[in-house]
């Protein structure tokens, strides 16, 4: 038996000094003798001393999820392992905090479930996977792409679906990779917020919101179809502070959310009747002579026509009947809103996911404008902004290969596509509406879509009419999915490629709500064989050129730090007061300007004024005035709502163990009254069904949900085939085609019924 005791070995493991003493034998014994190890390597004793004594290295990361808060993160690393994360302390917005999702990032990084290697499936959906090298994966993909080009004479048979799974700017290198291969087919548009974007563009000439931090100055806040207590936790402190300073907070939502519970007043409105409600308030403000006449006269056009419309066609009683909000509440709040200046409305994305969503946003904008609250600190019709996104899009902008042929018709551009169309080439990409992906893939001809590349997206959990999308996937000759976890989309892939997490790549991030900028440093080595999207593009380019020289223009160098640095320009430096991007290593920076939209009264509309009457809107096929538009006619007994969950962001995070502890399974939430009439009790298995499909799920009863609706959170669970998109069809929202590339989708204009299973 050896003289070394257990505690001595443990001491050596923990204490570098003891360890060095222990390791003297290494030099003495001459370890370089025959070693049977074939994996582990011998190392010189002198090198064996990388030691941390309680100290951590810190790195700057940024949450790249599709979220209002886009938090800056400080990551603490020890021994090359990320140990824990904190919110960036210098950001007054984050203020050192993260949300429940952000705090779980370490569980995501080191989850045993991560996709580790490139793999190929023998039969989609079979679960029979083989591990392949990156080299082999790239060869198989390249051969298919070359075959497509030879067969069709173009790359239009290759389609990309990518959206908001990772908003790190260098991840637009995926689009760059596609351009570098030729003219391809792109899913364009957004399921998220297009109707509201266009509405604000018609009214004001841009989507541009006040700095959320200025909400503390508001004397009246309406949170309209938005649930920041779950979806923008950092904004809540400004709302609380405003309340402390005397502001009143009203929450309007069909569902009694956590935000509603924290408001001074809550209106449980009938879904998609927001336009009627806003117009009823506008009529009362008009009748009471509370319109800000100076502001309207100096800064707007078309107000008289709008006022005529209100007088002729809108009454408070009508608005009360439509919205379900009592007339006396409408009149009192309208007066309070008009007389407590500055007053602001936060217009949520949920309320515009309707066939009349854009029209409703225009009505709410009008309410804010007519009370003189546009262009004021603490005021504003807040929706979102892209004022800090002026990067170079270096990774995105790649030349097509020489001689590439493409599509000759018009191509659409998404809201995050900041590229300018180059002069000259008459070819373009073929663009399909991202919200109708299933039918677009099924109907595409000349050429058909043969290969689909999925990145930063989980279409089989998030895209609409899921049954049809499954059919569309079957039509594909090759499906490549780039992801971190095995979800319902990976299940239907031929090849899956493991992609890096936020800790494993360099990139840069901004938000669409606050005005802060953060770099995202690589804090640890990529685990397993994960590669960043840029590295994947470079690897594909290398193989494409090997097999067919000149077939791909994407650079083959893979320094993601270098790529990140190329996204910066003078505009960004000036906006954020930076000398160099390196300044961001010390912490986040906030924009110096652009924080107060329309303060100078110069709007981006054709008239240069706020347009209560928009000829452009009329030209695009909608009402010139923000008139009331009916919602979708019900086609089943109950309204179906599929909003965001607290424990995830779209289909991300929900699979992590920390989330499973609190949210282990999906439920359909029903009002007890609705359940009683169907003989359904708490926990019963039920079938939610409509013309699109069905979902079998446990019921949970709560009077937070109105009697006429059922609610299921959008989610992807690891061990459950739950999918709310079985019930959501791809009916378009009214607006979105102008600035977002395609109309939005009427996610909440859906209906269903529930029966006991």
């Amino acid at each position: 038996m050896t003289q070394w005791k257990k505690n001595e070995i443990e001491k050596a493991m923990d204490c570098p000094m003891t360890r060095r003493r222990f390791m003297k034998w290494l030099t003495a014994a001459g370890v370089a003798t025959a070693m049977p190890c074939s994996f582990l390597r011998s190392q010189a004793a002198s090198a064996a001393g990388i030691v941390y004594e309680g100290g951590y290295e810190t790195f700057r990361n940024a949450c790249p999820r599709n979220c209002y808060d886009s938090c800056g993160i400080v990551t603490y690393v020890k021994d090359g392992v990320a140990q824990f994360v904190e919110g960036a302390p210098e950001s007054t917005f984050t203020n050192g905090g993260l949300c429940v999702k952000g705090h779980s990032y370490i569980r995501q990084q080191y989850s045993p479930d991560r996709i580790k290697y490139p793999m190929i499936q023998q039969g989609r959906g079979s679960g029979n996977w083989k591990r392949i090298s990156w080299e082999e994966a790239m060869t198989r993909i390249s051969e298919k792409l070359i075959e497509i080009n030879e067969k069709d004479g173009s790359m239009l048979g290759l389609a990309l679906t990518k959206y908001s799974g990772n908003f790190g700017i260098t991840n637009y290198g995926v689009e760059g990779m596609f351009s570098s291969l030729g003219y391809t087919t792109r899913m364009v548009g957004t399921p998220c917020w297009p109707a509201g974007i266009d509405a604000q563009n018609y009214d004001m000439g841009n989507m541009w919101c006040n700095d959320p931090e200025d909400m503390v100055n508001a004397r009246y806040i309406i949170l309209w179809g938005v649930n920041p207590a779950w979806c923008s936790v950092h904004t809540m402190k400004y709302i609380y502070e405003a309340k402390k300073r005397g502001a009143k907070v009203l929450c309007i939502d069909p569902v009694l959310t956590q935000t509603a519970a924290k408001a001074d007043e809550y209106w449980q409105t009938k879904t998609s009747e927001d336009g009627a409600l806003a117009l009823g308030m506008a009529r009362h403000i008009l009748d009471k002579g509370l319109v800000d006449q100076d502001w309207v006269a100096n800064n707007s056009v078309g107000f008289n026509e709008f006022a005529d419309y209100l007088r002729k066609e809108v009454t408070v009683e009508w608005a009360a009947e439509k919205s379900g909000v009592p007339a006396d509440r409408i009149t009192q709040v309208a007066e309070e809103f008009a007389t407590n200046n500055p007053a602001t409305i936060w217009i949520g994305y949920g309320m515009q996911r309707h066939v009349n969503g854009g029209a409703s946003v225009r009505a709410i904008d009008a309410l804010v404008a007519m009370t003189g609250n546009v262009g004021k600190v603490g005021g504003g019709a807040r929706y979102g902004h892209l004022m800090t996104w002026g990067f170079n899009y270096h990774a995105m902008i790649q030349q097509t290969p020489k001689g590439a042929k493409g599509y000759l018709g018009p191509a659409a551009k998404g809201e995050f596509d900041f590229t300018k169309k180059a002069d000259g080439p008459s070819y373009s990409n073929r663009t399909f509406n991202i919200n109708k992906t299933a039918r677009e893939l099924l109907n595409a001809t000349d050429p058909p879509v043969r290969a689909l590349w999925v990145s930063c997206k989980n279409p089989l959990s998030q895209d609409f009419d899921r049954n049809k999308l499954v059919e569309a996937f079957k039509k594909m000759e090759m499906v490549v999915v780039v992801d971190q976890f095995f979800n319902q989309t990976v299940e239907q892939a031929d090849i899956v490629l493991p992609v890096t997490t936020l800790f494993e790549e360099w990139t840069v991030n901004v938000g669409y709500w606050h005005y802060w900028l953060s770099i995202n440093e690589q804090s640890v080595k990529p685990l397993h064989e994960a590669k960043s999207n840029i590295e994947i593009a470079a690897a594909l380019s290398k193989k494409m050129n090997e097999l067919k020289p000149g077939s791909c223009t994407f650079p083959t160098d893979t320094d993601t730090k270098e790529w990140m640095s190329k996204e910066f320009n003078k505009g960004i430096y000036d906006l954020f007061g930076l000398n160099s991007w390196e300044d961001l290593k010390k912490g986040m920076h906030k924009a110096k300007t652009n924080l107060l939209p329309w303060a100078d009264g110069k709007f981006g509309t054709p008239s240069g004024k706020y347009e209560f009457k928009s000829d452009l809107c009329s030209k695009h096929g909608f009402n010139a005035l923000p008139r009331y538009v009916e919602g979708r006619k019900p086609y089943d007994k109950l309204r179906l709502l599929t909003p965001h969950t607290k424990f995830g962001l779209h289909s991300q995070f929900i699979n992590l163990d920390w989330m499973e502890d609190f949210n282990p399974q999906p439920y359909v939430y029903m009002n007890p009254g609705t359940a009683r009439s169907r003989n359904i009790a708490e926990g019963d298995m039920v079938i939610v069904k409509n013309k699109t499909g069905k979902v079998t799920i446990a019921a949970s009863l709560t009077d937070n949900v109105p009697m006429d609706a059922v609610l299921m959170y959008e989610a992807w669970f690891k061990n459950n085939d739950y999918n709310c998109q079985n019930l959501v069809d791809d009916t378009s929202a009214d607006m979105g085609g102008y600035k977002a590339g395609a109309p939005g989708v009427a996610i909440h204009s859906q209906f269903a019924d529930v029966v006991k299973a």
Partner: protein, 187 residues
């Protein structure tokens, strides 16, 4: 350390680090010829073996029996936990380092079996007590804390295959043999 055990241990390492059905096949041939006795592998379907192996140990689906020590040792299952770093330091004390440090967790079963080979060999051939002490520690204070759980989870997993069973049987036999042979530390 006798050559037969050495060969078996190397084959187990190769099995758990395998990247393909062919590599599983090669490792299993060695295991089947264990100790002079030859077990007939028959018409084993190595593609099916590979699919099963990947479902259990590789992915891309959530693993049925993660072959990482920290998954079993940490209070909350994860890779690259504090216990992984302890294993890394133990390798360091034996003058060993993973060429994939930071990418492949140091406590992947295949890597640990490779370390076992190295430690046993050093303990046998080198004129120093430290390798033997390290092996004792590795066996009793580390492998013992997770390998039985791993074997249990792998055997009771939804997916199984005779090739996997063969490797698990050999792994268990080797481990029990070591456990019996090596007395623990005086507490």
């Amino acid at each position: 350390m006798d050559t037969v055990k050495n060969t078996t241990l190397a084959a187990l390492r190769n099995f758990f680090l395998a990247r393909s059905g062919e590599e599983l096949n090669a490792a299993c041939i060695t295991l089947a010829n264990h100790n002079g006795k030859t077990k007939d592998l028959g018409d084993m379907d190595w593609e099916e073996a590979e699919f099963a192996f990947n479902k259990l140990f590789v992915g891309p689906m959530a693993l049925q029996a993660p072959p990482y020590a920290s998954y079993y040792i940490e209070a909350e299952p994860q890779l690259m936990g504090e216990s992984t770093l302890k294993v890394r330091r133990l390798y360091d004390m034996a003058g060993l380092v993973s060429p994939l440090q930071g990418h492949l967790p140091d406590d992947h079963l295949g890597v640990e079996l490779d370390a076992a080979l190295g430690l046993l060999s050093m303990a046998e051939h080198l004129d120093a007590e430290e390798p033997s002490a390290l092996w004792h520690y590795f066996l009793h204070e580390h492998l013992q804390t997770w390998l039985p759980q791993f074997l249990n989870q792998a055997r009771n997993a939804e997916t199984g295959h005779p090739a996997v069973d063969l490797a698990l049987d050999h792994l268990e036999a080797w481990f029990n043999d070591q456990e019996t042979k090596q007395e623990g530390f005086d507490q």
